[in-house]
């Protein structure tokens, strides 16, 4: 699913944009503990959904080459988070949807988890 369409189905606001809103999102993962996210590392992790709103969510995305971070349940990232994401060229979205629903919506549109 291309990023632009992910934004639509997630009813998301774009907090930090990136030039390539047409990038294809094939694999996503959702977790609040960062080591659980990193345990999930595979060849292509394009999107991370999390309720953890702090700079470490962006750092984790950076280490894993994740291109898009989605903050769920309407949580608003602070300026430190946004600034780091801008530096790293990571797209940041905020969605009012809770974690389960946000993941479910993406999954039903063909975005997979690791291992299908």
């Amino acid at each position: 699913m291309i990023l632009k369409d992910c934004i639509k189905v997630l009813e998301a606001q774009v907090a930090v944009s990136v030039p390539d809103l047409e990038m294809d999102i094939q694999v996503a993962c959702g977790a609040d503990l960062m080591s659980d996210v990193m345990a999930f590392a595979c060849a292509s992790n394009e999107m991370l959904l999390t309720g953890l709103v702090n700079p470490q969510a962006i750092r984790t995305a950076e280490m894993m080459d994740v291109k898009v971070v989605v903050f769920v349940r309407g949580k608003q990232p602070g300026e430190a988070v946004l600034e780091l994401a801008r530096q790293m060229g990571i797209c940041v979205l905020t969605t009012p949807l809770p974690m389960f629903t946000a993941c479910g919506v993406l999954y039903s549109h063909g975005v997979l988890g690791k291992g299908g």
Binding site: L33, M34, A39, A43, L52, N54, A57, E62, M63
Partner: protein, 136 residues
């Protein structure tokens, strides 16, 4: 390359790993290998911040591998076998609220690295040495 790791807050945690990741990328190391090194080093870096009040990291790049050595002078790890188990964590509640304490850091390092050495002495500190080979 030497990095110091500030243990006073979580804001800066990851800067050393970020610097090392950039350096490896610049040297032309392949992205999947850089990713393994970055994840392993970041977990080790976070551990010094969460459990040991910070420390330092030494990254040495060789033609076919990189050695990452993360050192702290914290409390040490009393039982390394236990610490290596998935899910084992003594992270304080404050760290959990920051997104840590899954007890997956050391298992993740093990998974990403070609060799892992943990030297630790109670009351004196811990050195984690990670080797990542460049051949996939």
């Amino acid at each position: 390359m030497t990095f110091s790791i500030d243990g006073s807050d979580f804001i800066h945690a990851g800067e050393a790993s970020s610097g090392a990741k950039k350096a490896l990328t610049k040297l032309g190391v392949k992205a999947p290998v850089v990713k393994r090194a970055a994840i392993a080093m970041y977990e080790a870096e976070l551990n010094t911040v969460i459990h040991a009040g910070g420390g330092s990291a030494e990254v040495d790049i060789y033609p076919d591998h990189v050695l990452i050595r993360v050192t702290d002078h914290g409390p040490g790890i009393p039982d390394v076998r236990l610490a290596m188990q998935e899910g084992w964590s003594t992270a304080p509640e404050a760290a959990r609220e920051m997104g840590f304490g899954a007890g997956m850091g050391l298992p993740n390092i093990k998974k990403q690295s070609d060799e892992l050495l943990i030297e630790t002495e109670p009351g004196r500190g811990t050195t984690v040495t990670i080797r990542i080979n460049f051949t996939v």
